[in-house]
Every structure is written in C-alpha cells, then in structure tokens.
Amino acid sequence: MASDYITADMVESSEFSFLVVKYNVHGVPHTVINEEHSIVGAQSEMEFAHAIIKAIGKK
C-alpha cells in the first residue's frame, strides 16, 4: 500500500505447503522477498523496509 511497486502476500502455510518446501520454511513468520531473500521472525517496519531496499540492490 505504501508503494505501488510492492505486493505483499499473506500465505497460510498449511494450505500451501508446496511453498513451505520451496522456500525451506522452518518457522513462521517467514518472509520471502523477490524469491531470493528471506527474513525469519517478526521484525520492525523499518527492518522490513531496509530488507526491501537491500533486496532490490539499493542502499
């Protein structure tokens, strides 16, 4: 909502277990950014924002 570039999915892992396998999820919440960056556990909003910026290769 904060950026038109960002899509955020909430995925019920028990209903889509193929994603649990695909992303090697061992605990929840487990956040995947652009398929290759993972964040495990709850983080602050700022930490998520930083992780997004890092994922797109910016500073």
């Binding site: 038109d4 909430m10 019920e12 992303y23 924002a49």
Partner: protein, 141 residues
C-alpha cells in the same frame, strides 16, 4: 450457521463503522469450490455485508484467468483489497484466526488510503523503483 459468530459480527460491525472511504474486496475462487475457498467466500460475504462502505467482488480463478493474472493471483482462495487503486495486498488461504484481525486492520487502512507507517519508513519505501514481491508465510492460529 454463519461464518462469523454473532458476537464477533457485532464487534466487527462496530469497528467497520469507522471506515473512512469505500473499500472493495476482490476474491478469487472457482466454480468447483475447494472447501477453504467456500469458507473464505462465506466469511467475506458476511464481512462485506457489515458496512455499506465495503463491497465484494467474487471472481472465478479458472474462467477469469486473465484477470487473475493481471492481479498476480496464482493460487486460491485469494483475497485482495482495493481502495482508490490496487494496494498490492493479498491474502492466500482463509483469513481466519489472527489473520482475520489483520484483514480487518488492512480494510481500515485501505479506507484511510494510508498504511499507517511512520514517516521514516515511508521515506525509505519511496526509494523503491522496481517491483517487489513479499510473501509472508504464516501458520494458522
């Protein structure tokens, strides 16, 4: 029996009274509904009936594959929220338990046309200049 308990319905209706602007819920299911698709649809029908600022659009994931693709919806049940535009919010699976609270909060934010993030976080996110797809895997509560 409805998808929501009577006492929960009253509570939710009370919260939804505060919706500022119209919010549209767009849901994808299919003709031969999976049990969880049906559960989601029934729940969303009840929720959207609790406020005249809320509307619900139900689409067929198979028959309307082009629309699903346009919204980036690749599995069902899928629940998405629109305010003055697509906010990129997607719920996959039944938004029940704790996720139900998140859904209601997101509806309220969409009604405000404001995600409720701090100025610092908004400044950081303003730097995003290419598509970002976040998937938060959660477990049922």
């Amino acid at each position: 029996m409805g998808a929501l308990k009577e006492k929960d319905k009253e509570k939710v209706a009370n919260i939804l009274k505060g919706i500022e602007k119209d919010v549209k819920i767009v849901m994808f299911t299919q003709e031969m509904e999976c049990p969880r698709c049906e559960m989601t649809r029934l729940m969303l029908e009840e929720v959207s009936g609790l406020s005249d600022k809320l509307s619900l659009e139900v689409h067929d994931f198979v028959a309307e594959a082009d629309l699903a693709k346009k919204y980036g919806v690749d599995k069902i049940p899928a629940t998405t929220l629109f305010g003055d535009r697509d906010y990129g919010i997607r719920f996959y699976g039944v938004p029940a338990g704790y996720e139900f609270n998140v859904l209601i909060e997101d509806i309220m934010d969409a009604g405000k046309r404001n995600p409720g993030l701090s100025e610092e976080v908004m400044t950081e996110l303003a730097k995003v200049d290419r598509p970002v797809h976040m998937q938060v895997l959660i477990s049922p509560t």
